[in-house]
Amino acid sequence: MSRHVVAATAEVPPGGSKLVNVKGRDIAVFNVGGEFFALLNRCPHEGASLCHGRIVSLAEADEPGRYRLSRRGELLRCPWHGWEFDIRTGQSYCDPQNTWVRRYAASVEPGETLAKGPYVAETFQVTVEQDYVVLEL
């Protein structure tokens, strides 16, 4: 297990995402209302690149023509077949027991802590003024 600085928080605004590569894995980092989450960038159904999906709300309907939206910006819709995943947990909305996207722990840490070490930033410039998203894997 190691920790990786993958973005300055300012790079990924609320509702945005960034695709990063850590240890050869494509990982999509999401900002949901100021909280950061990281999912493997591969739909468990047929492998689509999830960072190309739209960030949507939970849509529920009791009958045709009447629907309501909740949890705005917390679901991710696969760009191909429309599978929807909870960005917080990686679980599929319609098949939560069997279908989920691999999730990675993401946290936000101040540059001050990171710049001091024991971390070493190789080519990624870490400055004390900013906050950074750190993945653990």
């Binding site: 990786h4 600085v5 492998g47 190309h52 819709r77 191909w80």
Partner: protein, 371 residues
Amino acid sequence: MSEVLNAPASPSRAGPKQRLSVVDCDIHPAFKSGADLYPFLSERWRKHWATFGHHLRQGLSSTLAHPRMSPGVARADAWPPNGGPPGSDLAFMREHHLDANGIEHGILMALRPGGCDERNLEFGAALCAATNDWQIEAWVKPEPRLHAAITVPQEDSQAAVREIERCAGRPGFVQVNVAPRTDEPLGRRRYWPIYEAAAAAGLPIGLHIAGVPGHPSTGAGWPSFYFQEHHANAQCLQAVVTSLVLEGVLERIPALKVVIIEAGFTWVPSLCWRLDKHWERMRDEVPHVKRKPSEYVRERFWYTTQPIEEPERPEDLNAMIDWLGWDRLMFSTDYPHWDFDDPRYAFRAPLTEQQKAMIFRDNARALYGFA
């Protein structure tokens, strides 16, 4: 916890695990706009299109009958960065699909406005001819991996035969496409000249739902939802297979080969079991059907894979393929449409190396004569 690595954004998709080269039997090219077709239409038909538009069969006639799953019926990641609808930019299609997925040959399915569903038959013939010329000039000549299917005005079989004869000798055409949901079931005599011309040219008939011909998409009438319409492709093709067999088309034209595109294939065994049972009991009604229906089907039909069936027990799919014959299934993606199948993940149950090679490449190479 000892290091913090640089992690640059990686814009490229992970390389395909599927190293086997692939023949994709269903790729949809699109016009940037109808003007793409103008160079291939005579002044008379350009004026007609500008004045009257094409197929006036329903209200809101330039739309499809049901709202689609995704805008443009397309994968959300397939919109070309330089603009235009998905499937309209060859350079982007190369990068996004042909190169990324190892496609060695791809067969074009030009859906709209193909002319196949045009009420004005002469205009339909002109649109088909223009679509065929456009496929060659805009896609096949610049990209030799791509091959075209001859779109025909199927309700006017004389014009359809003329179009087949005009195109068949030219390089780049590997199939004759007929859109099901025709004015009569496709086994009816009015369509036989099309099959005879295709067989004489050595080209298979491709059956891919296209156009808005005015008939309900299900045998039970107009559906309420796109969900139903999507599923109805399989039902439609069951009726078409039955018609081709029982009208005696396959008996009368021994060289005819038929490819069922984007309509599934696991229904074929159960349909054949029913047809065979009734043929044993009721064949005096159709003496021109000399052999068991399943024999014609096994010999003369091929199937493309997308949208692949996904049974709860993945190995059930392989049992259905055992019945069809492993030489009958040809991989397809339907790029750039939303229900695209990825060659890496479409099949859930393990396939042997030989089965993989057949489905992803060799069956289509053999049928279409690709090297």
